[in-house]
């Protein structure tokens, strides 16, 4: 199966080369950061977590894509998702890999990272987060790979993966919950100190992760012969819609609690994010963009017509993805730190090296994703219906036109 990685068209190799360049740039930036210190980023003593941790938080959400297709398929025998479950699991693998990397690049002393294991600290939520994240990574690798192997051999999967799949469902909930606890357990950070932090994480996760999964599936439909089926994608789109509605609802809850209670701490961050505070308001346009995109996309997705039109569908999902990314990948972290405990505001913006490192990590994530999907698609292509198989095979190998084209090069 792994050998599929070595066979691909020029587009495939170009994409890999592109990712390698991105990763190399990321490494360069990271080396600079290692050498100089985290001062190369836009973080400060007030906003002491920035883009890295924000991406980490967001990607924990993306990792949820797995469970949203796994759950209906395995628990409710929803056959329509059969083709896309492994894709979901592998997207989770890539997402969690990026999560881990984002935490590592955010460390001031990455060379001491093993201290977390050498001195396990049961009272730190981070300890549990490491356990649930690495566990989720492992489960998804094992389950995804085993299912794919079984599929490649056209055999039913071995019996022992079933319990593992069942475990993976609550486990997926746990990664969001525990990650939310990183924030919601901190006294003095009023924007985070809310009991619906974990539910909010789950809602936005179940919107953003599956949205990305659908978008990738739509791309794969075009560039490969793999097709999970549009009805299945639309069905997941419905899940995305409802999750997004719940997510928006939760945000509105926060608005109510803050502004009706008039508790200053609860208002300040929302004020800063959506209206600006003390003359600072760098994130205001982003937050409103997120609001418009999120609400607009949800409304659009309620119309069947939008879901039927592949491009509008993709556009709406893209909007949801961007909206949740801004909300969680930007607003949540920066908002939590603003204003600081003394009521002062230091504005945050990522710097170029910081963006470079971020891109590098995304590059690695997409490399992992590409590798896993390439294998999956390779396995699937080998098993398509005879007619398409032949087309695919001809396209892949020695179709006369292609050979001519390649010779001409």
């Amino acid at each position: 199966m792994i050998d599929h990685l070595l066979h691909g068209g020029p587009r495939y190799w170009a994409w890999l080369a592109f990712l390698c360049v991105v990763i190399a740039i990321g490494f360069g930036c990271y080396y600079y950061q290692l050498d100089y210190g985290l001062g190369v980023t836009g973080m400060s003593r007030d906003v002491s977590w920035g883009f890295y941790i924000a991406q980490f938080t967001f990607l924990v959400g993306v990792a949820a894509s797995g469970v949203m297709v796994v759950l209906p398929y395995y628990l409710h025998h929803y056959k329509m998702f059969g083709k896309i479950t492994i894709m979901g699991e592998f997207l989770a693998v890539a997402a969690v890999t990026m999560c881990v990397l984002f935490v590592v690049v955010d460390l001031g002393q990455p060379s001491r990272v093993l201290n977390v294991l050498l001195y396990p600290t049961l009272n730190s939520v981070m300890f549990y987060d490491i356990i649930v994240l690495s566990g989720y990574l492992l489960i998804n690798i094992v389950v995804g790979w085993t299912m794919l192997t079984a599929e490649s051999n056209e055999l039913p999967p071995p019996a022992w993966v079933k319990p593992l799949i069942y475990i993976s469902i609550p486990w997926a909930i746990s990664i969001h919950t525990v990650t939310a606890f990183l924030y919601s357990g901190l006294p003095g950070r009023d924007y985070w100190l809310t009991a619906i932090m974990a539910p909010r994480f789950l809602a936005s996760a179940f919107a953003s992760g599956p949205a990305l999964l659908i978008l990738i599936a739509l791309i794969l439909r075009r560039v490969t012969s793999f097709d999970p089926g549009l009805p299945a994608l639309r069905k997941i789109g419905t899940i995305v819609t409802y999750a997004m509605i719940v997510n928006i609802f939760f945000v509105l809850m926060e608005f109510f609690t803050g502004f009706y209670s008039q508790a200053p701490g609860h208002m300040a961050s929302l004020q800063y994010l959506f209206f600006g505070l003390d003359g600072y308001g760098r994130l205001v346009p982003f937050m409103w963009l997120a609001a418009v995109l999120g609400i607009g996309a949800v409304i659009a997705l309620l119309f069947q017509r939008v879901k039927q039109d592949e491009r509008l569908f993709a556009l709406a999902l893209g909007a949801i993805f961007v909206a949740t990314w801004i909300d969680k990948g930007l607003g949540l972290i920066v908002g939590g730190f603003t204003p600081n405990p003394l009521g002062d505001i230091t504005e945050y913006a990522p710097t170029l090296p910081e963006l470079g490192v971020t891109l590098g990590v995304y590059g690695i994530g997409f490399l992992v994703l590409t590798v896993l999907y390439k294998i999956t698609v390779g396995v699937r292509e080998a098993q398509l219906s005879p007619e398409t198989a032949q087309q695919a095979a001809t396209a892949e190998q020695a179709s006369p036109e292609q050979l001519v084209a390649e010779a001409a090069h």
Partner: protein, 345 residues
């Protein structure tokens, strides 16, 4: 069992002998100077001897194993790495073999499941092998800090990368962990997998134990029973500059380490470990697949008896005439030897 036990005992004995020799000042010269020099000479001479031994035999035929499309018609995409049509392709193919173990990467496992023959992924041997060899390489390069004075630029850099994770003081190297894990894996598969256990000889266990022993004594010296590193370098350097002397205060543990390393050096050219040199000579990999394009010359291409057309026509003359197949009238009727052209017979 004996196949595993004896090699293990031999390695233990070698280490103990080294340790004992290091404990006795009178024998330190033997174990610290004479044996290492002999081992080094045996290694270098033995290695060269074995290589030359192989090179003495010619490669009479170009027997490339092709694992990809040949270069034939211009519009068919050829695979110059798997069926190299030129030297560049061979270079690439050999680089992939030597540096990335390309052929081993192909490994799959085959097994019957019910009525179907299934093929599974089997990349562990590749991964374990690669991990072992690269760890070993890094460890050897790191050790140049003992042989080179002043310590060259790359050593601190390598140490910094290899010791990136600050665990313990002095920091444990990543390669220390990886080589031990890889060796234990390679050993375990010989024990656990029935097929591999069946084919394994004492000569397969011995080098594993030997290198494990070298690694273990190294770990002990670095992390548990410290030896005087300065004296170690003084000794190593004195060997290098051909002014050998035994400094005081070199711990006996180091002599155990050195004894095992010397054993490895001596054993190397005598054993399968010569695959290090041999891989470069493998004719199925290091030859181009351009047999029909370029003639390959066999130096001992001696003439052989053949059945000539003339003999054949003589024998079947009547039948040929009967069948109306044209006869060749202008023939020399002597038996023939197929020529031995292009080479010295």
């Amino acid at each position: 069992m004996a196949k595993m036990l004896y090699p293990f005992l031999i390695v233990v004995a070698l280490a103990l002998v080294g340790y004992a020799g290091g404990s006795l000042p009178a024998l330190q010269v033997v174990f610290g100077i004479i044996i290492p020099y002999i081992a080094m000479a045996a290694f270098v001479a033995g290695f060269a001897y074995r290589m030359l031994g192989w090179v003495r035999s010619p490669v009479p035929f170009r027997i490339t194993t092709t694992a990809g499309q040949q270069r034939s018609l211009p519009w068919i995409k050829a695979n110059n790495l798997e069926a190299p049509a030129n030297k560049l392709g061979v270079l690439g193919r050999m680089a992939l073999e030597v540096l990335l173990f390309r052929s081993l990467f192909r490994n799959t496992s085959a097994g019957l499941r019910g009525k179907r023959l299934l093929f599974g992924e089997e990349k562990l041997l590749w991964a374990g092998g690669l991990l072992f060899h690269y760890s070993f390489l890094v460890i050897i390069l790191r050790h140049t800090r003992f042989f080179l004075d002043p310590v060259p630029f790359f050593v601190p850099w390598l140490q910094a990368v290899d010791g990136f994770f600050q665990v313990g003081v002095p920091a444990m190297y990543i390669t220390t962990a990886t080589i031990l894990v890889a060796l234990l894996f390679l050993f375990a598969r010989r024990v656990v997998m029935p097929q591999i256990r069946y084919i394994s000889l004492p000569a397969d266990y011995f080098p594993l134990f030997l290198i494990l022993g070298i690694g273990t004594t190294g770990v002990l010296m670095r992390h548990f029973f410290r030896v005087d590193i300065e004296a170690v370098k003084e000794l190593a350097l004195s060997l290098v500059v051909l002014q050998p002397r035994i400094p005081a205060n070199v711990g006996p543990l180091f002599f155990a380490h050195l004894a095992l390393v010397s054993s490895l050096l001596v054993y190397f050219p005598l054993s399968k470990l010569m695959h290090m040199g041999g891989i470069f000579l493998s004719p199925t990999r290091n030859l181009t697949n351009d047999n029909r394009r370029r003639r390959h010359v066999n130096p001992w291409n001696y003439p052989v008896p053949t059945h000539s057309y003339a003999e054949w026509q003589e024998e079947f003359k009547e039948k040929l005439e009967m069948a109306g197949i044209p006869l060749d009238e202008d023939l020399d009727h002597k038996p023939e030897m197929a020529a031995a052209r292009g080479g010295h017979a």
